[in-house]
Symmetry: C2
Amino acid sequence: MCKLHNNWYLYIMNKKADHLERLSDPSSYFPGISIDCVIIGFDKDQLHILLLKWKERELWMLPGGFVNLDEDMDQAATRILEERTGIMLPYLTQFHTFGDVNRRDKNLLAEFASMLDGASFTKLNDFLKQRFISTGYLSLVNIQTCKPTVDIMSDYSEWIPVNQIPSLLFDHAEIVGKALEQLKSRINYLPIGITLLPEKFTMKEFQTLYECILGKTLDRGNFQKKILKLGILDRYEKMLSGKAHKAPYLYAFNKKRYNELLEKGIGYMN
Amino acid sequence: MCKLHNNWYLYIMNKKADHLERLSDPSSYFPGISIDCVIIGFDKDQLHILLLKWKERELWMLPGGFVNLDEDMDQAATRILEERTGIMLPYLTQFHTFGDVNRRDKNLLAEFASMLDGASFTKLNDFLKQRFISTGYLSLVNIQTCKPTVDIMSDYSEWIPVNQIPSLLFDHAEIVGKALEQLKSRINYLPIGITLLPEKFTMKEFQTLYECILGKTLDRGNFQKKILKLGILDRYEKMLSGKAHKAPYLYAFNKKRYNELLEKGIGYMN
DNA sequence: CAATTATTGTGTAATTTGCACACATTGCTT
DNA sequence: AAGCAATGTGTGCAAATTACACAATAATTG
């Protein structure tokens, strides 16, 4: 896509203009369907979720949006995430569809309406009044290399540690919960380490990541032996130093080996 | 619900009338959303899927329908299955949402239209022309105690062995495939045996069921020992006889023990 | 009616894995 | 230089997995 736009700035501006246009006249959107993205990152012994703050209000939400009438839902998820955060992820995996009648609080909707009215978004306002079903999409990313930007709807976007998530719009807390549950139950089938860790990392970081997802502590010695035996890591002699005590080895993924195993499900832990 | 209708026949007729009314004027349906149910049974060493045949045509499909505007999707799944097959299942579990633009073949839709036109279903016809997203729901049932009936749209409903499934409407084959995949991957968390087998069964039947789901053979001796050790089965001295060779014991589930284990996931097989 | 046979129930031995903990190593701190 | 805290590795025991072998049984067969 870069090739079509040798001016990156123009490319972005085009996208933004298109987004804005559709919002002000949402007739090209599939009515009643939305998508919400749960983007999970890992930093400093904590899982983080990418959240957006609504303009001028202490109201947090997942990056979400609507499906174009001529667009597959999986494509829509990728587009929506890019529009709202600037993050381009070609593969997001669907994990659940939320279809309760009262999943969207009526009072909040009314507030939304009052905020939108002033800004010539009357059509969007009507569009939003109908009932919506939302499909949740999930992805895991390296928090360091993933710097979200902000769209017109939001003040700022932020990586929030899972234990510090504020109260969220509508049923977004439930959506996050379901995503974390999915992450845990599919831990052996998702590319956990390779997406959530930096290029090189210590064994301790890797273990902490697993402990966060599983919500329990693991035996250090056994974890290390199990992982090394799988052969998915290459060890680098260059050690991390500067901090107190014995310097640990740095490791990186042997991607070939890792992907081979991932197809059958890596039996890290039960 | 029985208590409200001491005349069962009347109750059914009311439901049918309501269904018919909504179909002839689909304005009370959520536009663009449908539900398809994959009901799985087991009989004679084969998994079976419950399919409906379209009136006067060799066209097979999953029992499906539309969501009322004032109805949670999970509720809708139960209602739809009952409307189309007479089977009442309070718990159906959602497994995937199918949202590709071209999931419904345009030619088939046109044929549908021609069939419906003659029968004063012009509004339904228009309703069906729009794009639809469909959410798949899954349930496991005992094929013996589950006798489907037929609704106005269908000639007959039938349990079809998974290896003999005919070509299906739209993307229903893909939906079935995804359901079977789900069944396999969640085998330790779904009430496999207790829903798919009759009250009493032999160890061989139980093993065959697992082999069908997993798509591989299991060692007989080890399977038997593993299951017995879990303590989820009660053995009955009354043996099955009449057939050649050694008569096997009959077993039934110890439901209390079974449900206890199921919550944590029963580690039958990996 | 005993021998046959296919199927069911159980046992065993070799191997692998899981688990808890101990010990050795290392590089910074004091 | 000694101490310390974290990393890397080893060891022993229990439990599980795996691949068979053997025994028991009831209808079939000659």
